[in-house]
Protein backbone atom coordinates (compact mmCIF):
# COMPACT_ATOMS: atom_id res chain seq x y z
CA UNK A 1 0.00 0.00 0.00
CA UNK A 2 1.30 3.43 -0.94
CA UNK A 3 0.26 4.81 2.44
CA UNK A 4 2.60 2.45 4.24
CA UNK A 5 5.50 3.36 1.98
CA UNK A 6 4.90 7.08 2.46
CA UNK A 7 4.61 6.66 6.22
CA UNK A 8 7.83 4.71 6.20
CA UNK A 9 9.73 7.23 4.14
CA UNK A 10 8.48 10.41 5.72
CA UNK A 11 7.99 9.41 9.32
CA UNK A 12 10.20 6.41 10.01
CA UNK A 13 13.34 7.46 8.17
CA UNK A 14 13.48 10.71 10.15
CA UNK A 15 13.32 8.59 13.29
CA UNK A 16 16.33 6.65 12.07
CA UNK A 17 17.77 10.01 11.16
CA UNK A 18 17.91 10.83 14.84
CA UNK A 19 21.27 9.07 14.90
CA UNK A 20 22.59 12.27 13.40
CA UNK A 21 22.56 13.48 16.96
CA UNK A 22 25.29 11.00 17.75
CA UNK A 23 27.33 11.73 14.66
CA UNK A 24 29.22 14.61 13.25
CA UNK A 25 27.12 15.41 10.24
CA UNK A 26 28.82 16.42 7.07
CA UNK A 27 27.18 16.93 3.73
CA UNK A 28 29.46 14.66 1.72
CA UNK A 29 29.02 11.47 3.70
CA UNK A 30 25.34 12.12 4.39
CA UNK A 31 22.91 10.95 7.01
CA UNK A 32 24.27 7.50 7.69
CA UNK A 33 27.92 7.77 6.70
CA UNK A 34 29.14 10.51 9.02
CA UNK A 35 31.63 9.98 11.80
CA UNK A 36 30.41 8.69 15.19
CA UNK A 37 30.95 11.07 18.05
CA UNK A 38 28.82 9.42 20.72
CA UNK A 39 27.34 11.75 23.27
CA UNK A 40 29.51 14.70 22.37
CA UNK A 41 26.61 16.92 21.31
CA UNK A 42 24.60 16.08 24.38
CA UNK A 43 27.50 17.10 26.60
CA UNK A 44 27.88 20.25 24.56
CA UNK A 45 24.20 21.01 25.08
CA UNK A 46 24.38 20.58 28.86
CA UNK A 47 27.24 23.07 28.89
CA UNK A 48 25.49 25.43 26.51
CA UNK A 49 25.07 28.88 28.06
CA UNK A 50 21.49 28.84 26.81
CA UNK A 51 20.71 25.39 28.20
CA UNK A 52 19.22 26.67 31.40
CA UNK A 53 17.38 29.51 29.73
CA UNK A 54 15.50 27.48 27.14
CA UNK A 55 14.75 24.73 29.62
CA UNK A 56 13.37 27.22 32.13
CA UNK A 57 11.35 29.06 29.47
CA UNK A 58 9.84 25.84 28.18
CA UNK A 59 8.80 24.62 31.60
CA UNK A 60 7.62 27.98 32.91
CA UNK A 61 5.60 28.76 29.79
CA UNK A 62 3.90 25.37 29.87
CA UNK A 63 3.29 25.45 33.55
CA UNK A 64 1.64 28.86 33.31
CA UNK A 65 -0.35 27.68 30.32
CA UNK A 66 -1.60 24.80 32.40
CA UNK A 67 -2.62 26.97 35.33
CA UNK A 68 -4.33 29.66 33.29
CA UNK A 69 -5.70 27.95 30.21
CA UNK A 70 -6.88 24.77 31.86
CA UNK A 71 -9.75 26.14 34.00
CA UNK A 72 -11.07 28.51 31.31
CA UNK A 73 -12.96 25.95 29.20
CA UNK A 74 -14.50 24.41 32.31
CA UNK A 75 -15.90 27.78 33.33
CA UNK A 76 -17.12 28.44 29.81
CA UNK A 77 -18.78 25.03 29.61
CA UNK A 78 -20.55 25.57 32.92
CA UNK A 79 -21.70 28.96 31.70
CA UNK A 80 -22.97 27.70 28.34
CA UNK A 81 -24.63 24.79 30.09
CA UNK A 82 -26.68 27.20 32.17
CA UNK A 83 -28.27 28.77 29.11
CA UNK A 84 -31.80 27.52 28.75
CA UNK A 85 -32.76 28.41 25.18
CA UNK A 86 -31.30 25.97 22.68
CA UNK A 87 -30.76 28.55 19.95
CA UNK A 88 -28.90 30.96 22.20
CA UNK A 89 -26.76 28.09 23.40
CA UNK A 90 -25.85 27.21 19.83
CA UNK A 91 -25.00 30.80 19.05
CA UNK A 92 -22.72 31.12 22.07
CA UNK A 93 -20.95 27.93 21.17
CA UNK A 94 -20.33 28.77 17.54
CA UNK A 95 -19.11 32.23 18.42
CA UNK A 96 -16.70 30.91 21.02
CA UNK A 97 -15.02 28.41 18.78
CA UNK A 98 -14.55 30.59 15.80
CA UNK A 99 -11.03 31.69 16.87
CA UNK A 100 -9.88 28.08 16.85
CA UNK A 101 -10.01 28.09 13.05
CA UNK A 102 -8.10 31.30 12.57
CA UNK A 103 -4.48 30.76 11.57
CA UNK A 104 -1.76 31.46 14.12
CA UNK A 105 -0.20 33.91 11.68
CA UNK A 106 -3.41 35.91 11.55
CA UNK A 107 -3.83 35.87 15.31
CA UNK A 108 -0.31 37.13 15.90
CA UNK A 109 -0.83 39.74 13.18
CA UNK A 110 -3.98 40.89 14.91
CA UNK A 111 -2.20 40.99 18.27
CA UNK A 112 0.52 43.13 16.75
CA UNK A 113 -2.14 45.59 15.64
CA UNK A 114 -4.19 45.63 18.83
CA UNK A 115 -1.14 45.73 21.08
CA UNK A 116 0.93 48.12 19.00
CA UNK A 117 2.09 51.52 20.18
CA UNK A 118 -1.06 53.22 18.81
CA UNK A 119 -3.21 50.13 19.18
CA UNK A 120 -6.46 49.61 20.96
CA UNK A 121 -5.04 48.30 24.24
CA UNK A 122 -2.68 51.21 24.63
CA UNK A 123 -5.52 53.63 23.95
CA UNK A 124 -7.52 52.03 26.73
CA UNK A 125 -4.53 52.10 29.06
CA UNK A 126 -4.13 55.77 28.35
CA UNK A 127 -7.73 56.46 29.28
CA UNK A 128 -6.97 54.96 32.68
CA UNK A 129 -3.80 56.99 32.92
CA UNK A 130 -1.45 54.05 32.54
CA UNK A 131 1.72 54.42 30.55
CA UNK A 132 1.81 53.00 27.03
CA UNK A 133 3.50 49.63 26.78
CA UNK A 134 5.67 48.18 24.04
CA UNK A 135 4.16 44.75 24.42
CA UNK A 136 6.10 42.90 21.77
CA UNK A 137 9.46 44.25 22.83
CA UNK A 138 9.05 43.73 26.54
CA UNK A 139 10.50 40.61 28.11
CA UNK A 140 7.88 40.66 30.84
CA UNK A 141 4.93 40.77 28.48
CA UNK A 142 5.73 37.73 26.39
CA UNK A 143 4.22 35.10 28.65
CA UNK A 144 1.02 37.02 29.50
CA UNK A 145 0.47 37.73 25.80
CA UNK A 146 1.11 34.15 24.80
CA UNK A 147 -1.20 32.75 27.43
CA UNK A 148 -3.90 35.37 26.99
CA UNK A 149 -4.13 34.82 23.27
CA UNK A 150 -4.12 31.06 23.78
CA UNK A 151 -7.11 31.37 26.07
CA UNK A 152 -8.92 33.43 23.45
CA UNK A 153 -8.07 30.92 20.75
CA UNK A 154 -8.62 27.65 22.51
CA UNK A 155 -11.26 28.01 25.21
CA UNK A 156 -14.37 27.60 23.09
CA UNK A 157 -12.92 24.59 21.36
CA UNK A 158 -11.73 22.93 24.54
CA UNK A 159 -15.11 23.50 26.17
CA UNK A 160 -16.75 21.11 23.70
CA UNK A 161 -15.46 18.03 25.45
CA UNK A 162 -16.78 19.29 28.78
CA UNK A 163 -20.13 20.11 27.23
CA UNK A 164 -20.26 16.60 25.87
CA UNK A 165 -19.47 15.24 29.32
CA UNK A 166 -22.23 17.40 30.76
CA UNK A 167 -24.84 15.81 28.53
CA UNK A 168 -23.90 12.52 30.15
CA UNK A 169 -25.06 13.65 33.58
CA UNK A 170 -28.32 12.06 34.59
CA UNK A 171 -31.11 14.70 34.37
CA UNK A 172 -32.97 12.97 37.19
CA UNK A 173 -30.32 14.26 39.58
CA UNK A 174 -31.27 17.82 38.69
CA UNK A 175 -34.95 17.10 39.01
CA UNK A 176 -34.67 15.60 42.44
CA UNK A 177 -32.41 18.48 43.50
CA UNK A 178 -35.08 20.93 42.36
CA UNK A 179 -37.66 19.09 44.40
CA UNK A 180 -35.39 19.34 47.40
CA UNK A 181 -35.22 23.07 46.78
CA UNK A 182 -31.65 23.46 45.54
CA UNK A 183 -30.85 26.67 43.69
CA UNK A 184 -28.71 27.08 40.57
CA UNK A 185 -25.41 27.44 42.35
CA UNK A 186 -26.04 24.48 44.57
CA UNK A 187 -26.87 22.37 41.54
CA UNK A 188 -23.67 23.41 39.82
CA UNK A 189 -21.65 22.83 42.93
CA UNK A 190 -23.06 19.43 43.92
CA UNK A 191 -24.15 17.86 40.63
CA UNK A 192 -22.45 19.43 37.63
CA UNK A 193 -18.92 19.78 38.95
CA UNK A 194 -18.73 16.29 40.48
CA UNK A 195 -20.13 14.98 37.19
CA UNK A 196 -17.33 16.66 35.28
CA UNK A 197 -14.58 15.63 37.62
CA UNK A 198 -13.51 12.40 35.85
CA UNK A 199 -13.14 14.28 32.55
CA UNK A 200 -11.25 17.07 34.25
CA UNK A 201 -8.83 14.66 35.87
CA UNK A 202 -8.08 12.77 32.66
CA UNK A 203 -7.47 15.94 30.69
CA UNK A 204 -5.30 17.31 33.45
CA UNK A 205 -3.13 14.20 33.49
CA UNK A 206 -2.76 14.37 29.74
CA UNK A 207 -1.72 17.99 29.95
CA UNK A 208 0.96 17.10 32.48
CA UNK A 209 2.28 14.63 29.97
CA UNK A 210 2.94 17.37 27.47
CA UNK A 211 4.42 19.92 29.81
CA UNK A 212 7.77 19.91 28.01
CA UNK A 213 6.43 20.35 24.50
CA UNK A 214 5.60 23.73 23.05
CA UNK A 215 4.24 24.14 19.58
CA UNK A 216 6.89 26.06 17.74
CA UNK A 217 4.64 28.14 15.49
CA UNK A 218 3.26 30.71 17.86
CA UNK A 219 6.43 31.31 19.83
CA UNK A 220 8.28 31.62 16.56
CA UNK A 221 5.88 34.27 15.30
CA UNK A 222 5.78 36.20 18.55
CA UNK A 223 9.35 36.39 19.66
CA UNK A 224 12.22 38.54 18.53
CA UNK A 225 15.85 38.68 19.65
CA UNK A 226 14.86 41.27 22.25
CA UNK A 227 12.56 38.86 24.05
CA UNK A 228 14.60 35.64 23.79
CA UNK A 229 15.21 35.96 27.50
CA UNK A 230 11.68 34.72 28.28
CA UNK A 231 10.43 33.59 24.89
CA UNK A 232 13.09 31.26 23.52
CA UNK A 233 12.02 27.65 24.05
CA UNK A 234 13.63 24.34 23.14
CA UNK A 235 11.88 23.95 19.79
CA UNK A 236 12.69 27.44 18.59
CA UNK A 237 16.29 26.96 19.66
CA UNK A 238 16.44 23.72 17.67
CA UNK A 239 15.07 25.57 14.67
CA UNK A 240 17.58 28.40 14.89
CA UNK A 241 20.60 26.20 15.54
CA UNK A 242 19.59 23.52 13.09
CA UNK A 243 17.99 25.24 10.15
CA UNK A 244 19.44 28.72 10.29
CA UNK A 245 22.94 27.88 11.57
CA UNK A 246 22.98 24.43 9.99
CA UNK A 247 24.34 22.76 13.14
CA UNK A 248 22.34 19.71 12.20
CA UNK A 249 23.86 17.27 14.64
CA UNK A 250 23.77 19.60 17.59
CA UNK A 251 20.16 20.62 17.00
CA UNK A 252 19.13 17.00 16.58
CA UNK A 253 20.72 16.14 19.90
CA UNK A 254 18.76 18.94 21.55
CA UNK A 255 15.62 17.66 19.86
CA UNK A 256 16.28 14.14 21.12
CA UNK A 257 16.74 15.46 24.64
CA UNK A 258 13.33 17.13 24.44
CA UNK A 259 11.64 14.15 22.80
CA UNK A 260 12.94 11.68 25.39
CA UNK A 261 11.61 13.80 28.25
CA UNK A 262 8.28 14.20 26.45
CA UNK A 263 7.96 10.52 25.87
CA UNK A 264 8.74 9.67 29.48
CA UNK A 265 6.19 12.21 30.68
CA UNK A 266 3.60 10.81 28.31
CA UNK A 267 4.20 7.27 29.53
CA UNK A 268 3.94 8.42 33.13
CA UNK A 269 0.75 10.30 32.38
CA UNK A 270 -0.70 7.24 30.72
CA UNK A 271 0.22 5.06 33.66
CA UNK A 272 -1.46 7.41 36.07
CA UNK A 273 -4.58 7.65 33.94
CA UNK A 274 -4.68 3.85 33.69
CA UNK A 275 -4.58 3.67 37.44
CA UNK A 276 -7.50 6.02 37.66
CA UNK A 277 -9.47 3.66 35.47
CA UNK A 278 -9.13 5.16 32.02
CA UNK A 279 -6.82 4.14 29.27
CA UNK A 280 -5.37 6.68 26.91
CA UNK A 281 -4.35 4.20 24.22
Amino acid sequence: MPTIILFFVFLYIPMAGLIVGFRKYDVVSGLFGSEWVGLKYFKQFFNDPYFFRILRNTVVLNFNMLIFTFPAPIVLALFINEIRQKKVKRLFQSVSYLPHFIATVVIVGLMKEVLSGQGLVNQILEVFGIERQLFFNDVNWFRPMYIGSSIWEGTGWAAIIYLAALTGINPELYESASIEGANRWQKIRFITIPGLLPTIIILLILRFGSIMSVGIEKVFLMYNPGTYETADVITTYVYRRGILNMDYSYATAVGIFNAVINFCLLLTANKISKKSGNNLW
Binding site: M1, P2, T3, I4, L6, F7, V9, F10, L11, I13, P14, M15, G17, L18, V20, L31, F79, Q93, S94, V95, S96, Y97, L98, P99, F101, I102, A103, T104, V105, V106, G109, L110, K112, E113, V114, S116, Q118, Q123, W152, G156, A158, I160, I161, A164, L206, I216, E217, F220, L221, T235, V238, G242, I243, Y248, A251, T252, G255, I256, A259, W281
Partner: protein
Protein backbone atom coordinates in the same frame (compact mmCIF):
# COMPACT_ATOMS: atom_id res chain seq x y z
CA UNK B 1 -33.08 42.54 39.09
CA UNK B 2 -29.55 41.95 40.26
CA UNK B 3 -29.61 38.58 38.62
CA UNK B 4 -30.72 40.04 35.31
CA UNK B 5 -28.05 42.71 35.41
CA UNK B 6 -25.43 40.11 36.18
CA UNK B 7 -26.57 37.96 33.28
CA UNK B 8 -26.45 40.94 31.00
CA UNK B 9 -22.91 41.80 32.06
CA UNK B 10 -21.67 38.26 31.57
CA UNK B 11 -23.28 37.97 28.16
CA UNK B 12 -21.97 41.29 26.93
CA UNK B 13 -18.49 40.45 28.22
CA UNK B 14 -18.66 37.23 26.28
CA UNK B 15 -19.56 38.97 23.04
CA UNK B 16 -17.00 41.71 23.54
CA UNK B 17 -14.24 39.17 24.04
CA UNK B 18 -15.14 36.91 21.14
CA UNK B 19 -16.75 39.19 18.60
CA UNK B 20 -15.29 42.63 19.11
CA UNK B 21 -11.87 41.71 17.67
CA UNK B 22 -13.57 40.80 14.40
CA UNK B 23 -15.61 43.99 14.35
CA UNK B 24 -12.44 45.93 15.07
CA UNK B 25 -10.64 44.32 12.13
CA UNK B 26 -13.44 45.26 9.76
CA UNK B 27 -13.70 48.79 11.14
CA UNK B 28 -10.02 49.49 10.77
CA UNK B 29 -9.96 48.01 7.29
CA UNK B 30 -12.67 50.30 5.92
CA UNK B 31 -12.12 53.50 7.87
CA UNK B 32 -10.24 56.51 6.62
CA UNK B 33 -6.57 56.69 7.50
CA UNK B 34 -6.88 59.92 9.51
CA UNK B 35 -9.71 58.57 11.63
CA UNK B 36 -7.57 55.54 12.48
CA UNK B 37 -4.53 57.51 13.49
CA UNK B 38 -6.62 59.92 15.55
CA UNK B 39 -8.14 56.99 17.44
CA UNK B 40 -11.66 57.74 16.34
CA UNK B 41 -12.58 54.20 15.31
CA UNK B 42 -14.15 52.07 18.01
CA UNK B 43 -17.61 50.74 17.34
CA UNK B 44 -18.49 52.08 13.93
CA UNK B 45 -16.19 52.75 10.96
CA UNK B 46 -15.51 56.34 10.03
CA UNK B 47 -15.00 57.67 6.55
CA UNK B 48 -15.79 54.37 4.89
CA UNK B 49 -13.64 53.51 1.90
CA UNK B 50 -12.28 50.42 0.25
CA UNK B 51 -8.86 51.64 -0.84
CA UNK B 52 -7.15 49.21 1.51
CA UNK B 53 -8.94 46.28 -0.10
CA UNK B 54 -8.05 47.57 -3.53
CA UNK B 55 -4.39 47.62 -2.55
CA UNK B 56 -4.58 44.08 -1.13
CA UNK B 57 -6.40 42.62 -4.09
CA UNK B 58 -3.95 44.18 -6.52
CA UNK B 59 -0.91 42.83 -4.71
CA UNK B 60 0.95 40.25 -6.76
CA UNK B 61 2.52 38.48 -3.78
CA UNK B 62 -0.81 38.06 -2.01
CA UNK B 63 -2.43 36.82 -5.21
CA UNK B 64 0.29 34.25 -5.82
CA UNK B 65 0.14 33.22 -2.16
CA UNK B 66 -3.58 32.78 -2.48
CA UNK B 67 -3.26 30.64 -5.58
CA UNK B 68 -0.49 28.54 -4.02
CA UNK B 69 -2.51 28.03 -0.85
CA UNK B 70 -5.52 26.93 -2.86
CA UNK B 71 -3.39 24.46 -4.81
CA UNK B 72 -1.68 23.03 -1.72
CA UNK B 73 -4.94 22.82 0.17
CA UNK B 74 -6.80 21.09 -2.63
CA UNK B 75 -4.11 18.55 -3.46
CA UNK B 76 -3.32 18.02 0.20
CA UNK B 77 -6.91 17.37 1.20
CA UNK B 78 -7.58 14.98 -1.68
CA UNK B 79 -4.33 13.14 -0.97
CA UNK B 80 -5.10 12.92 2.75
CA UNK B 81 -8.52 11.46 2.08
CA UNK B 82 -7.28 8.92 -0.45
CA UNK B 83 -4.32 7.75 1.63
CA UNK B 84 -6.15 7.59 4.92
CA UNK B 85 -9.38 6.00 3.72
CA UNK B 86 -7.58 3.35 1.70
CA UNK B 87 -5.32 2.44 4.61
CA UNK B 88 -8.31 2.44 6.93
CA UNK B 89 -10.25 0.19 4.59
CA UNK B 90 -7.51 -2.42 4.58
CA UNK B 91 -7.39 -2.28 8.35
CA UNK B 92 -11.14 -2.72 8.61
CA UNK B 93 -11.23 -5.84 6.43
CA UNK B 94 -11.92 -8.74 8.72
CA UNK B 95 -9.74 -11.27 6.94
CA UNK B 96 -6.66 -9.07 6.78
CA UNK B 97 -3.93 -10.98 8.61
CA UNK B 98 -1.42 -8.34 9.59
CA UNK B 99 -3.99 -5.96 10.99
CA UNK B 100 -2.36 -5.67 14.39
CA UNK B 101 1.16 -5.04 13.19
CA UNK B 102 0.09 -2.58 10.51
CA UNK B 103 -2.02 -0.74 13.07
CA UNK B 104 0.94 -0.56 15.42
CA UNK B 105 3.08 0.68 12.55
CA UNK B 106 0.72 3.64 12.10
CA UNK B 107 0.05 4.27 15.77
CA UNK B 108 3.73 4.53 16.72
CA UNK B 109 4.06 7.60 14.51
CA UNK B 110 1.59 9.41 16.73
CA UNK B 111 3.98 9.26 19.63
CA UNK B 112 7.40 9.20 18.06
CA UNK B 113 8.80 11.32 15.33
CA UNK B 114 12.14 12.37 14.01
CA UNK B 115 11.67 16.02 14.76
CA UNK B 116 12.52 19.04 12.70
CA UNK B 117 16.11 18.44 11.74
CA UNK B 118 16.04 14.82 10.58
CA UNK B 119 12.86 15.52 8.60
CA UNK B 120 14.54 18.49 7.03
CA UNK B 121 17.63 16.46 6.13
CA UNK B 122 15.41 13.80 4.60
CA UNK B 123 13.65 16.33 2.40
CA UNK B 124 17.03 17.63 1.37
CA UNK B 125 18.24 14.14 0.59
CA UNK B 126 15.13 13.41 -1.48
CA UNK B 127 15.54 16.67 -3.35
CA UNK B 128 12.16 17.87 -2.19
CA UNK B 129 13.39 21.18 -0.84
CA UNK B 130 11.46 23.90 -2.63
CA UNK B 131 8.98 21.37 -3.96
CA UNK B 132 5.32 21.62 -3.08
CA UNK B 133 5.31 17.94 -2.15
CA UNK B 134 7.47 18.68 0.88
CA UNK B 135 4.63 20.81 2.18
CA UNK B 136 1.83 18.50 1.13
CA UNK B 137 2.95 14.97 1.93
CA UNK B 138 3.83 15.20 5.65
CA UNK B 139 0.49 16.83 6.38
CA UNK B 140 -1.36 14.01 4.64
CA UNK B 141 0.15 11.27 6.76
CA UNK B 142 -2.03 11.19 9.79
CA UNK B 143 -2.33 8.06 11.86
CA UNK B 144 -5.10 9.81 13.71
CA UNK B 145 -7.29 10.15 10.62
CA UNK B 146 -6.67 6.51 9.75
CA UNK B 147 -7.89 5.43 13.17
CA UNK B 148 -11.01 7.54 12.90
CA UNK B 149 -11.81 6.21 9.44
CA UNK B 150 -11.14 2.67 10.53
CA UNK B 151 -13.51 2.95 13.48
CA UNK B 152 -16.17 4.31 11.18
CA UNK B 153 -15.68 1.71 8.48
CA UNK B 154 -15.99 -1.01 11.06
CA UNK B 155 -19.44 0.19 12.03
CA UNK B 156 -20.69 -0.63 8.54
CA UNK B 157 -22.80 -3.80 8.85
CA UNK B 158 -20.79 -6.81 7.76
CA UNK B 159 -23.87 -8.25 6.06
CA UNK B 160 -23.76 -5.66 3.31
CA UNK B 161 -20.13 -6.44 2.58
CA UNK B 162 -20.71 -10.19 2.70
CA UNK B 163 -23.62 -10.04 0.31
CA UNK B 164 -21.58 -7.88 -2.08
CA UNK B 165 -18.87 -10.52 -1.96
CA UNK B 166 -21.33 -13.24 -2.82
CA UNK B 167 -22.33 -11.16 -5.80
CA UNK B 168 -18.68 -11.32 -6.83
CA UNK B 169 -17.44 -7.88 -5.74
CA UNK B 170 -13.71 -7.46 -5.19
CA UNK B 171 -12.08 -5.25 -2.57
CA UNK B 172 -11.75 -2.23 -4.85
CA UNK B 173 -15.42 -2.38 -5.61
CA UNK B 174 -16.39 -2.72 -1.97
CA UNK B 175 -14.06 0.12 -1.00
CA UNK B 176 -15.27 2.49 -3.70
CA UNK B 177 -18.92 1.59 -3.95
CA UNK B 178 -19.92 0.58 -0.45
CA UNK B 179 -17.53 1.78 2.22
CA UNK B 180 -16.91 5.24 0.80
CA UNK B 181 -20.56 5.76 -0.09
CA UNK B 182 -21.68 4.87 3.41
CA UNK B 183 -19.08 7.03 5.15
CA UNK B 184 -19.75 10.36 3.50
CA UNK B 185 -20.38 12.18 6.76
CA UNK B 186 -17.07 11.28 8.36
CA UNK B 187 -15.20 11.91 5.11
CA UNK B 188 -16.76 15.36 4.93
CA UNK B 189 -15.79 16.02 8.54
CA UNK B 190 -12.17 15.01 8.18
CA UNK B 191 -12.04 16.70 4.79
CA UNK B 192 -13.13 20.05 6.18
CA UNK B 193 -10.73 19.90 9.09
CA UNK B 194 -7.94 18.99 6.69
CA UNK B 195 -8.81 21.96 4.49
CA UNK B 196 -8.53 24.31 7.45
CA UNK B 197 -5.28 22.70 8.60
CA UNK B 198 -3.62 23.06 5.19
CA UNK B 199 -4.87 26.58 4.71
CA UNK B 200 -3.54 27.72 8.07
CA UNK B 201 -0.25 25.86 8.10
CA UNK B 202 2.92 27.82 7.58
CA UNK B 203 5.80 26.09 9.28
CA UNK B 204 6.46 23.35 6.68
CA UNK B 205 6.49 26.02 4.00
CA UNK B 206 8.93 28.06 6.06
CA UNK B 207 11.24 25.07 6.35
CA UNK B 208 11.03 23.60 2.90
CA UNK B 209 10.07 26.26 0.38
CA UNK B 210 12.73 28.67 -0.70
CA UNK B 211 11.55 30.42 -3.84
CA UNK B 212 9.27 33.42 -3.63
CA UNK B 213 6.78 32.22 -6.20
CA UNK B 214 5.92 29.05 -4.30
CA UNK B 215 5.13 30.54 -0.91
CA UNK B 216 1.62 29.89 0.40
CA UNK B 217 -0.53 32.73 1.68
CA UNK B 218 0.44 32.27 5.33
CA UNK B 219 4.11 32.89 4.60
CA UNK B 220 3.25 36.02 2.65
CA UNK B 221 1.04 37.11 5.54
CA UNK B 222 3.71 36.49 8.10
CA UNK B 223 6.01 38.76 6.17
CA UNK B 224 3.46 41.50 5.68
CA UNK B 225 1.62 41.63 8.98
CA UNK B 226 3.96 40.04 11.52
CA UNK B 227 7.53 40.76 10.52
CA UNK B 228 7.60 43.90 8.41
CA UNK B 229 6.33 47.03 9.98
CA UNK B 230 6.49 50.06 7.73
CA UNK B 231 9.37 48.71 5.69
CA UNK B 232 10.37 46.36 2.91
CA UNK B 233 7.76 44.74 0.75
CA UNK B 234 4.98 46.08 2.91
CA UNK B 235 5.91 49.65 2.08
CA UNK B 236 6.13 48.79 -1.62
CA UNK B 237 2.65 47.43 -1.32
CA UNK B 238 1.05 50.49 0.20
CA UNK B 239 3.46 53.08 -1.17
CA UNK B 240 1.73 53.53 -4.50
CA UNK B 241 -1.69 53.96 -3.00
CA UNK B 242 -0.83 56.59 -0.41
CA UNK B 243 -1.77 60.07 -1.53
CA UNK B 244 -1.10 63.43 0.08
CA UNK B 245 -4.41 63.61 1.83
CA UNK B 246 -3.89 60.25 3.55
CA UNK B 247 -2.17 59.42 6.77
CA UNK B 248 0.46 56.80 6.03
CA UNK B 249 0.54 55.04 9.40
CA UNK B 250 -3.23 54.85 9.64
CA UNK B 251 -3.44 53.57 6.12
CA UNK B 252 -0.80 50.91 6.83
CA UNK B 253 -2.91 49.60 9.70
CA UNK B 254 -5.95 49.64 7.49
CA UNK B 255 -4.17 47.59 4.81
CA UNK B 256 -3.00 45.03 7.38
CA UNK B 257 -6.52 44.45 8.59
CA UNK B 258 -7.74 44.18 5.00
CA UNK B 259 -5.09 41.49 4.44
CA UNK B 260 -6.40 39.60 7.46
CA UNK B 261 -9.96 39.74 6.18
CA UNK B 262 -8.97 38.51 2.75
CA UNK B 263 -6.96 35.66 4.26
CA UNK B 264 -9.60 34.37 6.64
CA UNK B 265 -12.35 34.68 4.05
CA UNK B 266 -12.09 31.05 2.88
CA UNK B 267 -12.27 29.84 6.47
CA UNK B 268 -15.42 31.87 7.07
CA UNK B 269 -16.77 30.35 3.88
CA UNK B 270 -16.39 26.77 5.09
CA UNK B 271 -17.29 27.66 8.68
CA UNK B 272 -21.05 26.97 8.38
CA UNK B 273 -20.29 23.52 6.97
CA UNK B 274 -17.67 22.90 9.61
CA UNK B 275 -20.15 23.74 12.29
CA UNK B 276 -22.40 20.89 11.31
CA UNK B 277 -19.64 18.49 12.21
CA UNK B 278 -18.12 20.39 15.08
CA UNK B 279 -18.91 18.31 18.06
CA UNK B 280 -17.87 15.09 16.44
CA UNK B 281 -14.57 16.49 15.28
CA UNK B 282 -13.79 18.23 18.53
CA UNK B 283 -14.45 15.10 20.52
CA UNK B 284 -12.09 12.96 18.51
CA UNK B 285 -9.60 15.82 18.49
CA UNK B 286 -9.61 16.32 22.21
CA UNK B 287 -8.84 12.71 22.95
CA UNK B 288 -5.89 13.08 20.66
CA UNK B 289 -4.45 15.87 22.73
Amino acid sequence: MVKKALNFIIISMFFIVFLYPFLYIVNIAISSSHAITNNEVYLIPKGINFIAFKVVLQSKSILSGYINSIVYTTIGTVLTLILCTSAAYVLSVREFKFKKSVMAFFTITMFLNGGIIPSFLLMKYLGLIDSMWAVIIPGALSAWNIIIFKTNFKSIPQDIIDSAKIDGANHYWIYGKIVIQLSKAIIATIGLFTIVAYWNSFFPALLYLTSQGKQPLMIVLRKLIVVENMRGEFMNLIGKAVTVDMDEIGFARSVKMAIIIVSIFPILLVYPFLQKYFTKGALVGSIKE
